[in-house]
Amino acid sequence: MSFEIRIPGLGAGMSEGKLVAWHVKDGAAVREGDLLYTLESEKTAQDVDAPADGVLKIIGVEEEIYPVGELIGTIG
């Protein structure tokens, strides 16, 4: 099955997040727990890991700011 990767809501005050950089190439296989991308929100950078095994399809663009809930990739 396919897992959607969306900008997470980290706390009530967060409305958007910046996709700083992907650490995996489009179309590459990932394992659950692998580092996926770096997210910046409220001036804090955080690592986001893969929630499942599968192949990453990248949708979101590096250095772009997206609203919470925006689809930036899938793992299927």
Binding site: F3, E4, I7, V48, D49, V68
Partner: protein, 333 residues
């Protein structure tokens, strides 16, 4: 009564019981981890209260119960619900608001209810579960069905009026209720000492003539011994018990919240006394093979993966469901 009694009983907990407690502990621990992983990746979006650090309290308490005994818990209660035996598939489906969930996706994480496994109600209002537990206890007393009700709540809720009313009534009517206070040192974002006048929750029980015990809730044997004694007492007609289980909330109040107000020394102490590796090591010391524990963990990961897939692929409830399950008797739309 008291710490000394619980400690002396603790030695009697057999390895099979401890293994069952570990199985439930691992289910809670890995479910909690999975929820946080799926929230961080944005795959799920819901209000989630992490229970990391409180696994053993619930696992040991619920292992002391019969499957048909009752549980009342709070919105910070995924550990209690899982330990009581709710099927992970329908728990995940309800948390994600799907039609296949325990409440058809209409209750969400705040109201997990599954009478088939004795999860009678999950309340979203602090302290509100205690009088409800008394109602269930009274029904068991009147029917003579021998069931025991456990109600879980935090240290903060013992400052709510309903706690005191329920303690008094349960005591005077000798209700078969176990009041399980999971003292995790924080009421939402407020430290225990800043909000609670009593030094120990257990000290409030004598005011209501109630049997009470304070235990290290993160020690499986000690927690189980106290739970078993309280359940046996309630079932035998001896009335209610207040258990103050000392534990610790290792992550913030709610997923994504800032917990930088927690003193560093307290957090470090909690990591040192993490109940999950502590119970795992205890089982290894009792000569349980590593492969047995790894097998339990692997089986649980399979169950969770299946539950996640079930939840994600299930439909949302139909709009026509909105008027149903509100009143005892359906009315025309």
């Amino acid at each position: 009564m008291g710490l000394a009694k619980a400690a002396s009983d603790a030695a009697d907990v057999d390895t099979d019981t401890l293994l069952e407690i570990y199985r439930r502990t691992a289910l809670i621990n890995r479910t909690d981890e999975k929820f946080r992983a799926l929230l961080m990746s944005g795959t799920l979006r819901l209000v989630y209260y992490p229970v990391r650090g409180q696994e053993v309290v619930s696992a040991a308490m619920m292992t002391a119960l019969r499957p048909d005994d009752y549980l009342v818990t709070t919105y910070r209660g995924v550990h209690d619900q899982l330990a009581k035996g709710i099927p992970p598939k329908i728990l995940w489906a309800e948390f994600t608001g799907k039609a296949t969930g325990a409440c058809k996706g209409k209750g969400g994480p705040m109201h997990i209810t599954h009478p088939e496994t004795g999860v009678m109600v999950t309340t979203g209002i602090v302290g509100s579960g205690l009088p409800i537990a008394n109602g269930l206890g009274l029904s068991s007393l009147l029917k003579g069905d021998g069931r025991v009700t456990v109600v879980c709540f935090g240290d903060g809720s013992t400052n709510i009026g309903a706690f005191h009313e329920a303690m008094n009534m349960a005591s005077i009517w000798k209700l078969p209720v176990v009041f399980l206070c999971q003292n995790n040192r924080y009421g939402e974002h407020t430290a225990f000492a800043d909000s609670t006048s009593a030094g120990r929750i257990v000290d409030r029980a004598p005011g209501y003539g109630m049997n009470a015990v304070r235990v290290d809730g993160n020690d499986a044997s000690e927690m189980y011994a106290a739970a078993k004694a309280a359940v046996d007492r309630a079932r035998a007609g001896g009335g209610p018990t207040l258990i103050e289980a000392m534990t610790y909330r290792m992550l913030g109040h709610v997923f994504g919240s800032n917990a930088s107000y927690v003193p560093k020394a307290l957090q470090e102490e909690a990591v040192r006394e993490d109940p999950v590796p502590r119970l795992r090591q205890k089982l290894l010391d009792l000569q349980v093979p590593e492969a047995t524990l790894a097998g339990i963990e692997q089986a649980i990961d399979g169950v969770i993966a299946e539950a996640v897939e079930f939840a994600l692929s299930s439909p949302y409830p139909d709009i026509g469901e909105i008027r149903k399950d509100v009143l005892g008797q359906e009315i025309a739309a």
